[in-house]
């Protein structure tokens, strides 16, 4: 089977540009990259049908080298339709991203960042005693965070007592507030840890 060198070179160039473009963070470039990849693949399929330029005509006494295999062209037709649909959809998504964020970039996953920033210390799983949200600490600290004489609690400069939670210290007022049912006044750090 002989292959048209021009088509082969074009295919290689399209693949190279396509792969370069999908590595970009800009969505429009990624889309262009995907389109180039799809078209390069179409050329590849075309190359499997025989030498470019021959007619896909078949009769029983034609030599197989003298006509083009029509099946790859049917496959290309299907793949063009599919890549058309995907391109249209991607354009819709890109427009929507622009409307929502005014940016044409792939954004980082919020949850990934949160997990990455989570300290290895987990207030609920790892802390030793006082602030552990079990039956015990409420009575020891007192509901207003004052008048504490426990070993895990000590005064600090800004007037509020602090409570030892594992290797962290938090203000007893906040710790006590956390014990209130349904409390909304404590902004939790990621994964319940208190910085």
């Amino acid at each position: 089977m002989s292959v048209n060198l021009t088509l082969l070179t074009v295919m290689g160039a399209l693949y190279a540009c396509g792969i370069y473009l999908i590595m970009e963070r800009s969505l429009t470039r990624v889309l262009l990259g995907l389109m180039l990849l799809a078209n390069a693949t179409n050329l590849l399929i075309l190359a499997t049908g025989g030498y470019a330029g021959l007619a896909p005509m078949f009769s029983k006494d034609t030599d197989p080298r003298d006509y083009n295999d029509p099946l790859p062209q049917a496959l290309i037709l299907t793949s063009i339709v599919i890549s058309f649909a995907v391109t249209a959809f991607m354009l819709g998504i890109i427009y929507r991203t622009w409307v929502l964020a005014r940016r044409d970039e792939i954004q980082d996953d919020v949850e990934d960042i949160r997990v990455a920033e989570t300290p290895s210390f987990d207030a609920e799983d790892d802390s030793e005693i006082p602030v552990e949200t079990s039956e015990f600490p409420l009575t020891m600290i007192g509901s207003d965070g004052r008048g504490i004489s426990d070993s895990g609690v000590s005064g600090s400069e800004d007037g509020g007592a602090t409570v030892k939670a594992g290797d962290h210290r938090i203000r007893a007022k906040d710790a006590a507030a956390e014990e209130q049912p349904g409390s909304q006044n404590v902004t939790p750090g990621p994964e319940g840890g208190v910085k």
Binding site: I22, L37, L44, G182, G192
Partner: protein, 551 residues
């Protein structure tokens, strides 16, 4: 007239349903009725198909009357019909669940009316992929289900969904391009894309070309199945979609990838040329996936990571290419589709009832809603592989096959499998302890609905939202049905394992598949053993034997 000639209806019926529901886009009640009826009909048809091949045998249908190597062919055998029945059962349950959710929330909004047609197209794509006996038709099946899944993934077009959708679409398109390149190469090398014909003709290629084609197909399917180095996209994109959509994606889409990998490994490229890399990938998928799950605090993300991790078990079974291993993998796929989907459905219910799917914020559900606790507990224990359940039976089958194989790598995988199972239990137990057993007062920022007195829990008033039914009966009912189906897989594990083993025997033998497609006289090439297995440093086998046999 063979019963199997009705197989294409499994694709046509959902597409017909999609067209009808699209016409009825303004009548949500009629839409629901049409989609549920047509999906039930499809399920019924697939049950008949499964019954017709239950005792073995393979049937092929030539679409449009074109004879096999030229025309498109659909093949019904035990594996594909089993997958069809399980996938349709799951998708029917999810459809009922989604319908219940839509009715409870009032689905008059425009984007949701597109749900039914898109969902049915997804089901048609899945059926097409399972039935296809032609590589390009398999590609088309994949594209149908992927394009539908792009729409479902970004339903509503909110910020997080669009962000997740971009990753998902780009990764899927790249994997599809890889698959298409592989098809082009295979067509260039052999001049056919009929899978049965390929099984014969690929054996004549020289081993280098064959290896290249084999690796390309496995990489393309590996992305779709989320096998370890190629699995990064899954936990990133699945959790943001609506609960029923995540559930059906988790259950079906990755398994279609696994199905394609099984066909590649057994029908197209039999033998053990790539078994070692596959086993390493399986081990890494299991361990890395479950370690990822332990770091998560969002139940949906946690489940997505367990999904990746448990794909490793299926690849393990496949990589052993023994009857026991492949049979256990087939059983495991059926089990995992059901269990993973029911867990995601329950998570959707948890989110409704508890106001969040983060295990930091949800608490005390065991007391608030015992039925929810039961619905979570059974599939969760099933996933972790606690003895009476099908998860245990599937894992046991895989581990037995691994021990039978007896190579050091197989033992490493057996140990990895047990470890993954235990870590799954740990991850699941964390969810259970926090979301179900903890007192609501102990949660961080709990939703007011958790703290409301149990009496008015039926229609709790969520801050800033209109009154909604927290646990609509349709949603609980469909989840219950799916959990019951999962338990039924345990009860009927005996016959199911028999079918799985039989299908493994047939897939490894290949003759029934090839002869069903190409006629009785088709030659079945022996399983190609290109070169003797590389001498393994640890194995005490004498090295001299095999090369001599070859010469």
């Amino acid at each position: 007239m063979n019963i199997a000639s009705f197989a294409p209806l499994a694709v046509v019926l959902p597409i017909l349903g999609a067209a009808l529901t699209f016409v009825l886009i303004r009548h949500s009640r009629a839409q629901r009725a049409v989609s549920i009826t047509l999906l039930s009909l499809t399920l019924l048809l697939e049950c008949v198909l499964l019954a017709s091949v239950w005792d073995g045998g393979t049937a092929a249908v030539n679409i449009g009357g074109w004879l096999p190597p030229w025309g498109i062919v659909m093949v019904v055998d035990q594996f594909s019909s089993l997958m069809l029945v399980v996938s349709s059962t799951v998708s029917l349950a999810v459809l009922v669940y989604a319908t219940g959710q839509g009715m409870a929330d009032g689905d008059q909004d425009a984007p949701l009316s597109i749900f039914h047609p898109t969902y049915l197209i997804l089901v048609a794509g899945v059926s097409n992929a399972f039935l296809s006996g032609d590589l390009f038709n398999l590609y088309v099946g994949f594209e149908i289900l992927l394009t539908a899944s792009y729409v479902l993934m970004t339903l509503g077009g909110t910020g997080p969904r669009i962000r997740a959708g971009v990753t998902y679409v780009v990764v899927s398109v790249v994997s599809s391009v890889l698959f298409l390149i592989a098809i082009a190469m295979i067509y260039g090398a052999t001049g056919t894309i009929n899978m049965a014909d390929l099984a014969i003709k690929l054996a004549d290629l020289d081993s280098g070309t064959r290896m290249l084609l084999h690796v390309m197909l496995l990489v393309a399917f590996g992305i779709k199945a989320a096998v370890f180095p190629l699995s990064f996209w899954l936990p990133d994109s699945y959790p943001t979609a609506p609960a029923p959509v995540t559930a059906v994606f988790a259950g079906l889409l990755t398994k279609v990838g696994v199905y394609a990998m099984v066909r590649t490994e057994t029908l197209l490229f039999p033998g053990d040329s790539l078994n070692t890399p596959l086993m390493v990938a399986a081990l890494l998928t299991m361990v890395v996936g479950i370690l990822g799950a332990l770091a998560q605090s969002d139940i949906k993300r946690l489940l997505s990571f367990t999904l990746v991790s448990h794909i490793g078990y299926m690849v393990f079974g496949l990589a052993m290419s023994s009857v026991a291993g492949l049979g256990a993998a087939v059983f495991y796929v059926a089990h995992h589709i059901t269990i993973q989907t029911s867990l995601f459905l329950v998570t959707g219910l948890i989110e409704r009832r508890g106001g969040s799917s983060s295990i930091d914020r949800v608490a005390g559900l065991a007391k608030l809603s015992p039925i929810l606790a039961l619905l979570f507990f059974i599939p969760a224990m099933n996933l972790a592989g606690i003895p009476p359940f099908s998860g245990f039976l599937g894992k046991l089958g895989l581990l037995q096959a691994g021990v039978q194989l007896g190579t050091p790598l197989a033992y490493a995988l057996v140990i990895g499998g047990v470890l993954t199972s235990l870590l799954t239990l740990l991850a699941i137990a964390r969810v259970w302890n926090r979301a179900f057993w903890r007192k609501p007062e102990d949660a961080e920022n709990p939703d007011p609905v958790l703290l409301a007195a149990p009496e008015d829990s039926d229609t709790g008033d969520r801050a800033g939202k209109r009154n909604v039914t927290l646990l609509p009966r349709t949603m609980v009912g469909s989840t219950l049905g799916l959990v019951a189906f999962g338990v039924a897989l345990t009860v009927f594990a005996g016959p199911l394992f028999r079918v799985a083993d039989q299908s493994a025997v047939e897939m490894l033998d290949r003759s029934s598949y090839i002869q069903a497609v190409l006629g009785e006289n088709a030659p079945v090439p022996p399983v190609a053993q290109p070169e003797p297995a590389e001498p393994q440093p640890e194995s005490p086998q004498p090295e001299g034997q095999q090369p001599e046999v070859q010469k």
